[in-house]
Amino acid sequence: MNFSFWLNDKEFNINLEEKVKNDILVSLGKKKYRVSVEFLSSDEIILNIDGKIHNVFINSNSLSYSVYVNGRFFKVEKKPDSQFIGEKGAKPGKRDIRTSMPGRIVKVCVQEGDKVKGGQAVLVLEAMKMQNEIKSPQSGIITKINPEAGDSVEAGALLFSIE
């Protein structure tokens, strides 16, 4: 079977061929691997790749796989563009920045209409007793800032939009 994945905007093609049960020949790009597979649960896999052991934790949603390998995290995308979850009908170049963590907005550093650079702090969010600057992912104009200082925000809430 053939599949395509994207990781950091790069496409990878993978082919799997099961030799005997749980013993799979994998081609990734030009390289071939002999992989023996043990599922500990639906999420937890021991992979023996050419004799080398890897403890992998993997979980999927409709867009991507979240994979932990040897303590390192990777996000493997099912589609090339799933990295940016734009609003419906979003114009190209427009981005909505959402919070991944619930927390409290300590400070709003810029105003709607301001021009910001990539990496410039837009908001300060407090979570786990620490203050975190939420920075703009790109240069542009802030078209919307949703919360005010003092607001509590839920995970997934829109923080600001930039164009």
């Binding site: 994945f5 992989v35 992979l47 890897h54 932990y68 390192r72 919070t99 963590m101 786990m128």
Partner: protein
């Protein structure tokens, strides 16, 4: 007469509450804990003998609420309160309340706690007691003339600091005399703008500073001992990250001198129980009193590992009225120990907090010389509301090199999946040539560059193969995606990652 407590109430949570539960059990004392709404399933609750609910997650409603703590203590009929560190550990009000209620507070009396809690008062007291403090002015500068005179006395480089200040506001480093006046004026106006008070004082600037602290124990019979030092110079944003003992920077003569000065400092305030005297040490090994922490430290385990003395148990024994069972000459530290603080933070993304569910946990506390003081378990949801310290991983070795390699082994085995942790960050520190040679000061981490990791490419390929295997097995068995319960957490993680990638 000394008599061990029947029950102790632990007014804390997380790994330190677990640590104290263990000390209680080893002394035959019943450990009683309190918990907030979000801590109903916390490990300290699971391991306690008794547990009392004290309210909402908001600190003022639970762990910082003195009345609720006292009430739970009385209800449980506990004879003493152990405050752990943080929260109410250095709050003289709780100590006073305990004294009034006839409850033993496991820590110092309120008077030394108050003195040491006040920066100016402790500086004055220590100066009187012959303890060296950082040279500078104790009072704000009167005027520009006063500035010139005092600056000349302290010498350059020096720091101008806002008396009302903090957080770097109104702070100026002056390296040359000719910059003194202009820096003073800027510092004043900044201080005025930030704190409404333009007062500035002078402190000597310590070049290439080390943070080194001395552990002391003092009983109720006038016996005070020091238990060696801890090197705490590996800091990020003034937070300790990794501690080790002995310090690779100082020698036996300085070690002994610092120990004796620390005992002197404790004696000067009639200190009792466990305490830590913090010093800043300059590049010429001159040391100056910084502050005294009147409680058990996060990093106490490394001292335990080399001395064999259980500090948490010692605290309880002292509070119960037992004299120290050893004298200074009996304390002979052996070997080398270090501690890595494992936080729920993403080291690859500016140490962004990473709360959430721990879906898989493997801890490495087997083999010689590895200890894992954690406060979590597989399936536990790390709450957003509290400090993100998950675990303290501690190793011991016959040599510093052995302790380092053992730490690397333990870190390579430590698996926390579902959330991000600082585990990968420590590998970068430990393998850094400067750290490995013991040649570092408090500037170390800020100068640390992210190095390329040769295993990253290999792991990336494994991740792709795993994704292939996953989709293949789903197609083959026609199995549905993973259960809802877990997915929600993973979605959360996915979002977090999305978010982090953008920054």
């Amino acid at each position: 007469m000394a008599k061990m407590f029947k029950k102790i109430l632990i007014a804390n949570r997380g790994e330190i509450a677990v640590r104290i539960i263990r000390a209680c059990r080893e002394l035959g004392v019943i450990p009683v804990v309190v918990y907030s709404e979000v801590d109903r399933k916390a490990l300290h609750v699971r391991l306690a003998e008794e547990a009392y609910y004290i309210g909402e997650a908001v600190l003022s409603q639970s762990y910082l609420n003195i009345e609720k703590i006292i009430k739970a203590t009385k209800k449980s009929k506990a004879g003493a309160i152990h405050p752990g560190y943080g929260f109410l550990a250095e709050n003289p009000e709780l100590v006073a309340r305990c004294e009034k209620e006839g409850i033993v507070f496991i820590g110092p009396p309120s008077s030394p706690m108050e003195i040491m809690g006040n920066k100016t008062a402790s500086r004055v007291k220590m100066t009187k007691a012959g303890v060296p403090v950082i040279p500078g002015t104790l009072e704000p500068l009167k005027n520009e003339k006063d500035l010139q005179v005092k600056a000349e006395k302290v010498g350059f480089p020096l720091l101008l600091k806002a008396a009302a200040g903090g957080g770097g506001k109104g702070l100026r480093l002056v390296t040359r005399k000719k910059d003194l006046l202009s820096s003073y004026r800027i510092a004043r106006s900044e201080s005025q703008a930030s704190f409404g008070d333009p007062s500035i004082y002078i402190e000597k600037y310590i070049e290439e500073p080390h943070h080194i602290e001395i552990q002391i124990l003092a009983d109720n019979f006038g016996n005070i001992v020091y238990l060696g030092e801890r090197e705490c110079s590996i800091q990020r944003r003034y937070q300790k990250v990794l501690e080790e003992t002995p310090s690779p920077f100082i020698d036996d003569r300085i070690r002994k001198e610092m120990g004796q000065i620390a005992v002197q400092a404790a004696a000067a305030v009639n200190y009792r129980n466990a305490g830590t005297v913090e010093f800043v040490v300059d590049k010429n090994k001159n040391f100056y009193f910084l502050e005294m922490n009147t409680r058990l430290q996060v990093e106490h385990p490394i001292t335990e590992m080399v001395t064999g003395i259980d500090l948490a148990k010692s605290q309880i024994e002292i509070a119960a009225g037992f004299p120290l069972s050893y004298r200074q000459e009996d304390i002979k530290p052996k070997g080398f120990s270090m501690e890595c603080r494992i936080y729920a933070e993403d080291p690859d993304n500016d140490f962004l907090p990473s709360p959430g569910k721990i879906v898989h946990l493997h801890t490495p506390a087997g083999g010689l010389g590895v200890r894992d003081d954690n406060g979590v378990y597989e399936g536990y949801e790390v709450p957003l509301e509290y400090d993100p310290l998950l675990s303290k991983l501690i190793t011991w070795g016959n040599s510093r090199t052995e302790a380092i390699y053992r730490m690397l082994r333990a870190l390579s085995e430590y698996q926390v999946y579902g959330i991000k942790t600082t585990i990968p960050f420590f590998k970068r520190i430990l393998l850094h040539p400067k750290f490995f040679e013991g040649d570092y000061n408090t500037h170390f981490i800020s100068s640390l560059e992210k190095e390329e990791d040769c295993r990253e490419l290999e792991d990336r390929n494994v991740a792709l193969i795993a994704a292939g295997i996953k989709i293949y097995s789903e197609r083959k068995t026609g199995s549905a995606p993973a259960p809802k319960r877990k997915e929600s957490n993973w979605k959360f993680q996915g979002r977090l990652q999305n978010f982090a990638n953008r920054r």
